[in-house]
């Protein structure tokens, strides 16, 4: 699969002297060590070890040394890895599996386009088809996230209940104090923050207003209330409209969830968030649907409930299509259903606080491959007149995927493909960032990057220019280069740390530029997080007022920004490294041409500053 020849060459040489490994199966750690034995996509040719009591080993050393001096072997592989420059994505794509495995296993370059880092989308698909559960790290992460999400909602619910309880108590106390205040003017019923010497008038005003607000829009004390607050005047108008509408309808219809469809329900779970209208257009469509075709939807839902498997998902969708709702509206029609659920559960939740337990039940049932109907049946036994449709649950099941209904339909097709036993074709490619690609091509010479049009290799010199131009968005078209363009900054730092033996990977998810791994992501967590800061220390940059202003803008960072980064990095137990790159004065194009890539890079300097949160009373050893 990978470039096995060099690996085995090294391994066999190493295996000569120590005792041969026994026949027992290797541990995971051993496997990993073997798989990732090469730290770079290069071959090394170490001399054999000298065994003092065996004079023959001396001869062996001599022989190897002589043969290597006379006919030096190339440390590059015979065939380099190939990548394709993709200007649209501003990255280098690698598609052949030998290059992919090689680049990943020998130095942890690049990432799979559909994976978190290691390109294992395909194996994940296979595992899913064979129903193995969690095999890939993405699978594990997904499950962990689902569990975490559940605990979060649970926690939020508990907090909200506590706050509501408190508010009720306070409202009660306020009423009591109000009556006493009205009865006799002495201020007796003080509560909360009000000190006992507060004047009666002041406390009265405050209490009244707060109580009033609580009635109108609950003051936002929990995530629920916060979400249910009106977002705009439009919402406000809607809410009042709904109120009147709800009053008009008789009790039976009010209990029907459909009647609540148009109101702005607060999303209490991922489901409901999914179902929220994305635009005003959808919103108005929603309204229209309510007035004309509400019943149709209900029947559709019932119908789909009778079906019983994944396939019914597709069927019910087509049923709805048949129900004259129209294809363009289809995604939306399905999406409205959780909406009603959400709302009805909220109305109940406001009374007995059970809203989130519903949400929890949802999530717990949406483990991968859990059958949708088994999730919905126990819920159906409840007293509430809430309809659950398997379609909706399908949506939640893929909750980590894109959120909007349009995307959901896209996912459906993927699932349909997957259900078939047919062979899945590789949809993933491997991506290298500009820095990685240039390091591999220029510093290691292990990668040949092809032009997307001509399919011919791009020379390092041209590659340098292309990458520098593409590091802006949109890419620059003119030929002149600034000495502080993003590619230069990133590459200088990348090269610096790679040369020192670190495995450098992107750190966007932690809001930093790079993460430094000691040996690689499969061995340990990243130790350091690198933030690149340009430093305009060259006298050129302070020679002119306009330049000074430019530099000020470039170097400007706020303390809030720094605190934010520092806290994020500290939370994930890494050490923050500020890397200052001294920017040289700009060269004109002719000079740059003369000194070449090496010369340009040689003009940069890198300084590292390690930052750590230090608390005087905690770090006392």
């Amino acid at each position: 699969m990978a470039d096995t020849t060099p690996v085995q060459a090294v391994q066999s040489e190493a295996a000569v002297t120590p005792a041969a490994p026994s026949s027992q199966p290797k541990t995971n750690r051993q496997n990993v060590n073997k798989l990732y034995a090469l730290p770079a996509p290069l071959r090394t040719f170490p001399l054999p070890t000298l065994v003092p009591h065996n004079p023959l080993s001396l001869f062996q050393i001599l022989y190897v040394w002589l043969s290597q001096t006379i006919n030096p072997p190339s440390s590059h592989f015979e065939t380099p890895y190939y990548g394709l420059w993709s200007p649209e994505t501003r990255s280098v794509h690698v598609t052949d599996s030998r290059s992919i495995r090689g680049l990943w296993e020998q130095g942890f370059y690049g990432k799979g386009s559909l994976s978190r880092s290691e390109p294992n989308w395909m194996s994940g698909q296979k595992a899913r088809r064979e129903n193995k559960g969690k095999v890939t790290s993405e699978e594990v992460t997904r499950q962990r996230r689902a569990a975490r999400q559940q605990t979060k909602w649970e926690r939020a619910r508990k907090e909200r209940e506590a706050i509501e309880q408190k508010l009720l108590e306070e409202a009660e106390a306020a009423r009591v104090s109000d009556t006493t205040n009205n009865g006799d003017s002495a201020s007796t019923g003080e509560e909360g923050l009000f000190e006992s010497d507060t004047s009666v008038t002041v406390s009265d005003v405050c209490e009244d207003s707060s109580v009033e607000k609580y009635m109108e829009w609950q003051s936002p004390v929990g995530p629920l209330e916060l979400l249910s607050l009106p977002n705009s005047t439009l919402d406000l108008a809607k809410a009042s409209l709904n109120l009147t509408r709800a009053v008009e309808q008789d009790v039976a219809t009010v209990s029907d969830p459909v009647s609540f469809m148009g109101s702005n329900a607060a999303p209490v779970g991922p489901l409901q968030i999914l179902a929220l209208p994305n635009s005003r257009l959808e919103r108005s469509f929603n309204e229209a649907l309510l007035s004309e075709g509400g019943n149709e939807i209900v029947t559709a839902t019932h119908h789909s409930l009778k079906e019983d498997s994944k396939d019914s998902f597709l069927k019910s969708r087509s049923n709805e299509n048949g129900a004259a709702i129209g294809h363009g509206l289809n995604g939306h029609a399905t999406a409205t259903k959780p909406y009603m659920n959400g709302h009805s559960s909220i109305t109940e939740g406001a009374i007995n606080g059970s809203a989130h337990s519903d949400g929890t039940a949802y999530t717990s049932n949406f483990l991968p491959n859990g059958s949708a109907i088994s999730a919905s049946t126990p819920m159906m036994k409840r007293r509430k007149s809430v309809r659950f449709s398997p379609t909706v649950e399908k949506n939640t099941f893929i909750q980590n995927e894109p959120l909007s209904p349009e995307h959901a339909s896209l996912i459906t097709t993927i699932i349909a493909d997957e259900a078939e036993p047919a062979k899945t074709e590789e949809q993933e490619h491997f991506q290298l960032t500009l820095e990685e690609a240039f390091f591999l091509a220029y510093s290691l010479g292990a990668l040949t990057i092809l032009d997307p049009v001509t399919k011919s290799p791009i020379s390092n010199k041209d590659l340098f220019k292309v990458f520098r131009r593409s590091s802006y968005f949109p890419p620059l078209t003119n030929a002149s280069f600034a000495p502080d363009d993003p590619f230069m900054l990133n590459y200088v730092v990348y090269h610096h740390f790679r040369s020192l033996g670190w495995v450098v990977r992107g750190g966007v998810k932690f809001a930093v530029d790079f993460m430094l791994y000691n040996r690689g992501p499969v061995f340990s967590h990243a130790e350091f997080a690198v933030v690149i800061l340009p430093s305009y220390s060259d006298p050129y940059w302070s020679s002119d007022v306009s330049l000074q202003n430019y530099v000020k803008g470039k170097e400007k960072r706020t303390w809030a920004w720094f605190h934010c980064i520092n806290r994020v990095i500290t939370q994930v137990r890494k050490t923050l490294v500020l890397v200052y790159v001294d920017i040289p004065s700009p060269l004109n194009d002719g000079d740059e041409e003369d000194i070449g890539v090496d010369g340009v890079l040689a003009r940069y300097k890198v300084r590292e500053v390690v930052m750590q949160r230090w608390l005087s009373n905690r770090q006392r050893d």
Partner: protein, 302 residues
Amino acid sequence: MAESSDSVSEPLPISLVAGRYLLFDINVVTYLRRTHHICGTLIGSIPQIPQQNVFLGLPVELMPEEARLLVEKEAAYIVDDFAWHKERFNTFKGADRADYLESLRSEGFKARRAAEATSQNKKKNALAKQAVRKSREEALEGAAMKDPTDGGEAESPFDYDRPDSPAPSTVSISTNKPYAVTPTATYSTSSLPANPAQQPNPDTTSSYHLFAHLHSKDYFVMPGLRFGCDYNVYPGDPLRFHSHFAAVSYEWDEEIPMMDLIGGGRLGTRVKKAFLIGGKDLESKAQDGDRVRTFSIEWGGM
């Protein structure tokens, strides 16, 4: 406190000392907190425990935004302490001076009386406790030897509180001398202009619009440096609630670095807040309101 916040009347003076907006009066501080939802930050050390920095005391420092908001609401005005001191201190003579000294003296007496009242109370309590414990011990053990640790414990509070001479007489004598009070200003507050002339608003950054917007929605807005943001937004008094938002202000057409969104969203979600960004929409058609729009961001994968 004998005085309550009733004695505070608007507009209030805010001292500007070395570019900081400070409040020195506890009544003013409580009044602003209660009435205007302005909390400020305590920055003074506590005289008895100056080496710690967890619990701080007066003065309260206001953010420039808070000062500006109060000035714009005409609830307060800025007094440049340095200029005012220079102007007033040279002409501090005659009746003014006597008044000022007298006010200091009376403050000192007040402080002394309060301190003595508390110490007397303490003493009374300690004596009562001691008496109860003694009688109990006698009842229990009679002539038996006392446990050494128990005895030490029993004695320590008493020793601490007991002055050398018998208690009641000292109290009455000591009221002769007032405590030395360190004044927070070199002028009496009465000498300040009641209706100050129009002043320029305190300088604030562009994030003021977001601050004012959030404040107008009845949120309590505190400085957010601790959470790496501009403002920490509380739904009610910060003593009662955790903050709900970590707010960062941007210019409407400012480019927002992606990294900032990731960092802010990540941190905000981690500390159970929503990461809120907002700014003043200069092109907005809406004539009413402050034209500030806000968006909150949550990090999904945590």
